[in-house]
Symmetry: C2
Subunit: 512 residues, 2 copies
């Protein structure tokens, strides 16, 4: 009997009609039924006469399935068994505690994202290098695009296109003139009613690779950096694209739907378009993967009910993650700062901060109960920049982000909350100047404090939590990645610090 693990991908392949256009003229659905769930989901045409339906089971045990639709004149049925998830399979990521995340099995998910917009559209050799880098465990989420990207440092052609046809002649492009090529340029010849399955097969292999490494795939389904016209398709073509993408990818447990990168730069799309895409996802994705929409300048209205978390780009030249609390209070959803400037040295203002500054911004997010995203944009002799192409990392931040993740994983319960959040009464122990986080879960209130100083450099700090309990105090150097136990204290106590930037203090109540 066929077997698949819980939250794994169960796929049924069947042959079907090819006399007309299978992408438009035929449909296929699968219904998967176990003791605790019955899920009907769309399949898709994968080329060469083969249709597929994919399913992600949420329960263990025996399942049956039935494949129906106009693609064939006969139904296909079968059965399979769902086994326990393997060790590193915690299920899809869900929102928990209002502004945080857990995997479906209850394990906290502390997001440390990165961005390689079009790494899957580069050479296979470069993609392997990216996978190798990702395997080092710096990140547990990565943002990347289904469509290829046209932008500074991104004038090359992708290895495949999502549609059958041919692209404009890119030999006319230079670093000076590329901005004149925008949207549906002359010379492009695409048949938007014919997807190229190869493009999607290669892409989903990468989703699978990431899943195997425990990395969430934050899929950017639309974006404005375009010379092929993929950002300016008709409503009918857009909707067909969305349904195809969902049918193919939704069964991968690590998929997140990012409706767009910089949605506000897509000149031809209206609010009604975005809301329509969202409706399609909500109808067609049976698994409720995380859904977000990422801004360039103005935020989308993150109060919209279909948005599961706020995927933000900073709006201020100097402050970014410092605004986490304001937005958490406004939207009451997880705050994920997916773009807050990248570590690097390119000319673009969003791509040349230091590793220190990027790591500081991550901590400023974390200490307020938010999450941030990494990117790297160092000048490279072959113009291979992690932010778009993947490859190797050259910066100083990744190791420190891994360290931050480790500290986060040591939080009791799920997620941190800033001490000044209205739900917690702020004691007089911490001055207004300390950025203090405590576990979100009320059960742990008063038992754990994480204090972060950023670029402030106190040589000491004094605390007075209560006169009854004993507290273990550690000094954390977030840059040097050290945790130093400084003692167990009771009543009023003083913690000596090195008077350096990027220090933190962790205080944990000892159980009696």
């Amino acid at each position: 009997m066929n077997a698949v693990e819980k939250w794994g991908v169960f796929e049924v392949s069947v042959s079907g009609k090819t006399d007309k256009n299978p992408f438009v003229d035929y449909d296929i659905q699968g219904t998967f039924a176990g003791k605790n769930e019955t899920v009907t989901t769309d399949g898709f045409y994968d080329g060469n006469g083969v249709y597929k339906v994919r399913f992600m089971p949420s329960f263990e045990g025996e399942y049956t399935y039935k494949i129906t639709g106009s693609f064939s004149d006969r139904e296909e049925t079968g059965s399979f068994v769902v086994t326990a998830p393997s060790e590193n399979n915690h299920g899809p990521v869900r929102v928990a505690n209002s502004t945080h995340f857990v995997y479906e099995d209850g394990t906290p998910y502390y997001s440390v994202g990165t961005t390689c917009y079009v790494w899957t559209h580069q050479s296979q050799e470069l993609q392997q290098k990216t996978l190798e880098t990702l395997s080092k465990g710096y990140f547990n989420k990565i943002r990347f695009c289904i469509f290829p990207k046209h932008y500074d440092y991104n004038l090359n052609e992708p290895i495949t296109y999502p549609f059958v046809g041919k692209p404009m002649d890119s030999s006319v492009l230079t670093k000076e003139n590329f901005m004149e090529y925008d949207g549906a340029c002359e010379g492009n010849e695409w048949d938007f009613t014919h997807f190229d399955p190869k493009h999607f097969q290669l892409f989903e292999q990468r989703i699978q690779d990431l899943m195997d490494m425990g990395i969430e795939a934050d899929l950017i389904v639309m974006h404005p950096y375009d010379r092929w016209g993929f950002s300016e398709m008709s409503q009918e073509d857009d909707d067909r694209y969305w349904k195809y993408v969902i049918a193919r990818f939704a069964a991968y447990r690590n998929v997140w739907w990012s409706l767009a990168n910089e949605y506000d730069l897509l000149k031809k799309k209206t609010l009604a378009d975005w809301e329509r895409y969202a409706k399609i996802i909500c109808e067609k994705d049976p698994y409720n993967h995380p859904r977000s929409i990422h801004n360039c300048r103005d935020f989308y209205d993150h109060n919209r009910p279909w948005i599961t978390h706020c995927s933000l780009q900073r709006q201020d030249r100097h402050k970014s993650t410092e605004f986490t609390l304001e937005y958490a209070e406004k939207y009451k959803k997880p705050i994920v700062w997916d773009e807050i400037c990248y570590e690097g040295n390119i000319s673009h203002c969003w791509g040349n901060i230091s590793g220190e500054e990027l790591v500081r911004r991550f901590w400023e997010a974390a200490i307020r109960g938010g999450y941030a995203g990494h990117g790297e944009t160092y000048e490279h002799p072959e113009d291979i920049l992690w932010w778009s192409h993947g490859g190797e990392l050259h910066g100083t931040s990744p190791e420190r982000l891994k360290f931050l993740h480790q500290i986060m994983c040591e939080t009791p319960g799920v997620g941190l909350a800033p001490l000044s959040m209205p739900v917690f009464s702020r004691g007089t122990v911490f001055g207004w100047d300390d950025e203090v986080a405590i576990p979100y879960d009320l059960a742990y209130r008063g038992s754990y404090y994480l204090i972060y100083f950023g670029y402030f450099r106190p040589a000491f700090r004094e605390y007075h939590l209560d006169d009854i309990n004993e507290y273990e105090v550690e000094v954390i150097d977030t840059w040097e990645m050290t945790v130093k136990k400084v003692g167990v204290f009771k009543g009023k106590f003083r913690v000596e610090l090195p008077g350096k930037e990027y220090m933190a203090i962790r205080i944990r109540k000892l159980s009696k």
Copy 2:
């Protein structure tokens, strides 16, 4: 014949009645008349039967004077000659170009301030050390208090008191309990109708010392850090104090009136009080010295006509001088950021940023046409912190501030204006990400650009000013204090940068 230089202090001493209380029961005025001005100003009682009247002439040539008042039964008259100002005497500082300053002789004044709140109340030995440090030319303005200060690190007694009487017993004070002593504490015994001239004589000697060094004395006339009750005197006592201070100090050309430090922490003072003090200054100061009032949290309404410039404390934990343009547009007055965190390592959040960060904040102010203030708060074995006590400097910022001042002095005209200011049409040459300043004076428009990158680290920048003129380009390392000529360019050009923080570019049009 007596002689004094233009903008010098001409003083007339006369003996007078002492039978009643000379501070309250007698008055004295002087009228000073030259060809171009006639000034009547109050004098003051200086103890030991001696009354004095001081005058700062604004024109060269012969003057006569007449001293009148109830202090004596006879008038005193005389004459003197006003000579040309000596080389380093440029006159008092005035507002120019809306948001900038010039000395009265037209020399631009680019303010680089520091803060030593109560340096004049420390031992004479320490004061000499402070003067020695100040003589190194890092700063051209210093903020300090007429009253002594009671605060963390400031529990010692001043060398003199402004009034006759005796202070509370300070041996009861500790670092733990001092905050309980606030305002008019038990044990203080002061006669607010009897000034102690010694206190003011010592103080004005320091104003004179600063004047000789070309440093503006930004006098903080009131402040809230008080255990003696000087912050809680009656309206009558306050007004007498203000008049005495003005009569004594107004003739020193380097005096600025800071009505208060953190006026909003003076619990017993009302808006009507501050407005009344301002009225007294405007009536009694014949020379129109700069007038400001400094906040802790809420700004005073800097639109009030008597306020010559905005003396600001940052209101945000992370952004300070980055708000310069917003306030310049709102108040249309010079923006002087007198408190933006100090270089140091003490526990207080406002006193532990790095030299790098403080210098960056100065540049962020400068590039937007504003000015900033320095302070230093490093832990010290004897608790001598520059911010309050003066003494020696231990930080890394002062040299860099001197370098910034030198760069500012090389600005054509008076003052810098951000290129994005509405009055200037913003070209397409500079991206939205560059912080660019040009000379405020329209005459120099298009001929000079100062571009500052702060913590952004581009490895290059491209410019295209026009196709006609030649431009000399320099790369400035604001931290290493180097200016490197990189060439003369025409049309579109690229400037290589080291990809480091704190870099700037200066572009100057070559005359044909």
